[in-house]
């Protein structure tokens, strides 16, 4: 088995040589290299914020003459001036990079992970429906592996649970009308409701009977593709409103749990969640396309014929070969996440003060754009620089990782 794996690993890009080649190409991309250096510096800045920041980012001055300490223009003590509460802008900026970069990388990483898994499943199993449901008394050829046996039992629960739901919903919807009808008042509406109820129940009964011996197969690709279509129709804003309300509500168990686990970081988690809900789609589409073509390649057939498990084929052999577009997509997502965090702050759904992020610093600064314009530039420029570097790096990576693209 080991030799087989080795043989398969020698696919392009996955060998040491391919990565070295890519690195060599990337090194020649000057803008990308500069960006990489900038990003590394930014990350170091975030990590070592307490050692770099000249002041405490949340400390407010106290004592006499407070007014003069607010909105100070840049000076030797406060290199970037002070904000509306006399806090050092430079220190806030340095600390702000922590949350902004954390949100950016965490959201990008999670969206790419989710997108890759779903996209890979969709691509690999496209046209190869999976056993989704096998009734308790169905005759099923082939061996039952441990995990599938568990799923099989679980699926009965899901199937009959869903039927039960349909039956109850039908009853609740028509209950009043039918009661009135039974009491003797058979209006058209009541009759229709009753007919609908009886019809639905008959259908449910039939499905329940069929379910005993039925076998259903499901094309994962169709499910995921339709899910993507569906996600595209969903508006982001109400999802944000509902999610942040539910996740922040201390009365709900979810909200309680969120607070217990994440504490003050819960707003970071909420923002990351929102970003992931919409961020996985592009990756999934991308990965699905790559996998669809990769699974027809010889190395896949070889692995299949040698009896490698489907999981290992997908995640050990196919996904690494689709790494290039995934990495590029990941960089783009980081940029998007940082911009969205800023936009959410602008709408009042950002990270809670006094924690500083570039987004909430910029939002706060726009209130004072007229009399303290210097407040807006540091966070604004930091966002631009970071996102710019990430985009340049992504561009460089695209060139470097794409074997078809030649550089002159």
């Amino acid at each position: 088995m080991a030799t087989v794996d080795k043989a398969i690993r020698s696919a392009p890009l996955h060998s040491e040589n391919a990565w070295q080649l890519a690195w060599r190409r990337l090194r020649r991309h000057r803008l990308a290299m500069v960006s990489l250096v900038v990003l590394v510096l930014l990350i170091l800045m975030a990590i070592f914020a307490p050692y770099i920041a000249p002041h405490d980012p949340t400390a407010q001055p106290r004592g006499a003459g407070l007014r003069a300490m607010y909105f100070q223009a840049p000076s030797a003590t406060h290199l970037l001036g002070t904000d509306d509460l006399g806090r050092d802008v430079l220190s806030r900026l340095i600390y702000g990079s922590r949350v902004s970069l954390l949100v950016g990388f965490l959201a990008a990483f999670s969206s790419v992970m989710v997108g890759t898994v779903l996209g890979a499943l969709a691509g690999y199993f496209s046209g190869r429906p999976l056993r989704f449901y096998v009734g308790p008394l169905a005759r099923e050829a082939g061996a039952w592996r441990g995990s599938f046996a568990v799923w099989r039992v679980l699926s009965w629960g899901l199937y009959y649970g869903a039927l039960y739901m349909v039956a109850t919903v039908a009853w609740t919807l028509s209950e009043d009308a039918v009661r009135i009808g039974v009491a003797g008042e058979w209006t058209t509406n009541n009759i229709l409701s009753a007919v609908g109820l009886v019809g639905t129940w008959l259908a449910v009964a039939w499905a329940a009977w069929r379910g005993v011996t039925a076998r259903f197969r499901l094309d994962v690709d169709i499910v995921i593709s339709r899910l993507i279509d569906f996600m595209l129709t969903l508006p982001g804003l109400p999802i944000l409103l509902v999610l942040s309300a539910i996740l922040r509500d201390p009365r709900s168990p979810v909200g309680n749990w969120m607070y217990a686990v994440f504490g003050n970081a819960q707003s970071v988690v909420i923002i990351v969640l929102i970003l992931v809900i919409f961020g996985w789609i592009t990756t999934a589409r991308l990965v699905r396309g790559s996998i669809l073509s990769l699974r027809e390649r010889e190395f896949t057939t070889a692995a299949e014929s040698l009896g490698a498990s489907q999981g290992s084929i997908v995640f050990k052999h196919l996904v690494p070969n689709a790494a290039a577009p995934i990495i590029v997509e990941g960089t783009l997502q980081v940029g998007i996440a940082i911009l969205v965090e800023a936009a959410l702050s602008f709408l009042g759904f950002g990270i809670q003060p006094p924690v500083s992020t570039w987004g909430n610093m910029l939002t706060n600064a726009q209130t004072y754009i007229f009399f303290a314009p210097w407040l807006a530039f540091p966070p604004g420029i930091m966002i631009v620089i970071t996102v710019l570097s990430i985009n340049f790096l992504g561009d460089g990576l695209r060139d470097a990782l794409d074997p078809h693209r030649r550089q002159t």
Binding site: T172, L173, D229, L241, V242, A245, G335, L347, L362, I383
Partner: protein, 335 residues
Amino acid sequence: MFTYIVRRLSQMLPLLFFASVAIFSLVALQPGDPLDALRMANPTMTQEQFEALRRGHGLDQPIYVRYFRWLGRAVQGDMGRSRTYGVPAAQFIFQERLPRTLILTITSLTIALLVAIPVGIFSAVRQYSAGDYAVTFFSFVGLSTPNFFLGILLMYLFVIYLPETFGFRALPAGGIPNLMLSDLETGRVTLGEYLRQWATYLVLPVFTLATGSMASWTRFMRASMLEVLNQDYVRTARSKGLNERKVLYKHALRNGLIPIVTLVGLSMPSLFNGALITETIFSYPGMGRAIFDALVNKDFNVAMAALIFIAILVVFFNLVADVMYAVVDPRIRYD
């Protein structure tokens, strides 16, 4: 092709059904009650009266009952009244807000395309020239600048700083001109004046809004032209000695535009979506603000009308983009 379109259309209905269920649940699950505003205006309203009102509006019913009631009315074209404005929700969205948003978004789209296509071509043809680097750099800057940062900077620059320093008449800081379409019919303003006034109000928001798409479309145009220019048939055409101009416009451009067509097709729904942040900064009463306000004020009917309308557009333009793709690119076949 025909069967493909029919199949896609038949998939649209269930998709829209599920979308409407999801959107309805999201809007309905929001914290707070749609009658909060009414209750706040009437602090002495008793709890019994409030409960009676909730019952009357069916708000005490389970969510799926409310959904089917809403659906029943919606398919008959009745989107209900706006709880905030008192006018029919459809009238508010489609007659008042939508035209205004379209003025803003279509202008931005047009300007973005007018800039992105030629600049992208230029950048691709002169790959690795100084001009190309400049275009690349600026398009990345455009992509990386938060919309509201750009908007506020522009506002400060063109409304305060430049006019004060150089002494010219400032652009309006925000809002929209006091003009109605009927003013043209009644002759209150001439067409020229009408357009001039709108133009002064639109400059800043349009520029703010256009920057992002301009930058990204320039990138795409450049990439897709590069792709095409490296294709064999272009090289063949060149080696045949056809003049460069002809190669470029006759052979390369047609194919290079394909991905842009798809992109523009897919971004069509966002034209109707409005641009929440740009609209907020420039006090522009468009769809973005309307949807946001409707959601936070729990103006249920308005939010549903607008969101469902946009969901329909998304589904429709997805289809259009796919079909267009097949039309412009004969290599693609749907079966």
